[in-house]
Amino acid sequence: MLLISCPWCGQRDESEFTCGGEAHIQRPPDPDALSDPEWADYLFMRTNPKGRHRERWCHTHGCGRWFNVERHTLTHDIISVYRMGEGPADDGDGDPS
């Protein structure tokens, strides 16, 4: 079981949370300009990496708020937790991921 630090409530068991999947998927700024394959990419295509993954979590059975988690999908290590609208902490490698 994961131990997740809610930015508002602190460390809680995974069972209090719901995972909302990949984070930072931007709604297209001009939806009318999108082709069908572009819509498909926005709606359905996912990065699904084996490694570092940024995802949204909700503290469903706690404060009910959404936030972001950067987590490793092979080791399950939680690398950082940050609020909606923020980017992950810079890991110093000059690469945003």
């Binding site: 719901t18 069908d36 498909a40 359905f44 699904n48 990496p49 084996k50 999908t73 399950h76």
Partner: protein, 416 residues
Amino acid sequence: MTRYSIFSLARNALAHRPNWARAWRSPDPRPAYDVVIVGGGGHGLATAYYLAKEHGVSNIAVLEKGWLGGGNTGRNTTVIRSNYLWDESAHLYEKALQLYEGLSQELNFNIMLSQRGVLNLVHNEHDLKEMSRRVRAIRLNGIDSEMLDRQAVKAEIPVINISPQVRYPILGASIQRRGGVARHDAVAWGFARAADARGVDIVQNCEVTGIDVANGRVRGLQTSRGAIAAKQVGLVAAGHSSVLAAMAGLRLPIDSHPLQALVSEPIKPVLDTVVMSNTVHVYLSQSDKGELVIGAGIDGYNSYAQRGSFQIIESQMGALLELFPSFSRLRMLRQWGGIVDVCPDASPIVGKTPVEGLYLNCGWGTGGFKATPGSGWAFAHTIAQDRPHALNAPFTLERFGTGALIDEHGAAAVAH
């Protein structure tokens, strides 16, 4: 290849030194093949077998990063059925079930198919109506399917608790009597042995690390055992589908999730069918060794770790005891996880990709064991003819752009 028969069995049983030949060779990879299949699970091995047998392709390799069937094929709970709601799925899974029915003879390998029936329990009025509709839709596709009332469920499974005094009382069930279970390893081994006999090179401990694409066409693969040129490549890597697709610059509508199962200590025969419940969220059967084989749902987050969370097991056990209070003193023997590749519409992708010569067979998620021979059969056709067979034509990657999704969430054994 020595044929297995009662005579070969007797000969080796009586021999001072049994002389069983290896079931398949272990060749080093050659520098080039006509077709390379990535992934030595059931689907990949079946694809290679049907390519060789039905389409006369002879220069084929199957590359597996670990051992044959070490992915989901050897980790699944082996439930086989074809009672799917939509026509597209019904036809594909029914083809698979029909191939399964003749597979032990076809492969000369006992896959221990046991058509002991699969029950899907119903716990409320809404499900009862929905299930009756489903059963009728399935019958219209010529697939066997019946409704059972509460007493009939009890007659099928005397040990089940049908008391109305529980949170989710059992109101009835659907049953597909031709459904059942098979030996998962045997399916992989049987296809491997039969494919090898037709000249397919099965290369284990060979991880694909890159896909060479030039001018929109696949040229070959980079592997842990060197570069291998290939005219056509089929990706059949289940939990690792997105990782492999990314090597060719493709994005897939797939998330990889852990799915767990566990078995109890062996007990005397108590359950001679497969029972599933979407509502309380558990399913089980009893193995020939006497263990209860118990499965449930996926973990909610993406993972490649082949292990799941403890709270999933806990709720799975709660659900089990809701249906079978008498199992409360059973000890669980072992637990394991696999990584399943889940599509947004819970249906697979079997077909071509935007890269010429590169084909995709993935997204079977939590329920692809039952499809193994049908999937291999249709995928072999797709590769050999460079176009899908009618059976897999609806299961394209493009359906996510056109909107022609095949929503089978309701068909999952339990709500995964």
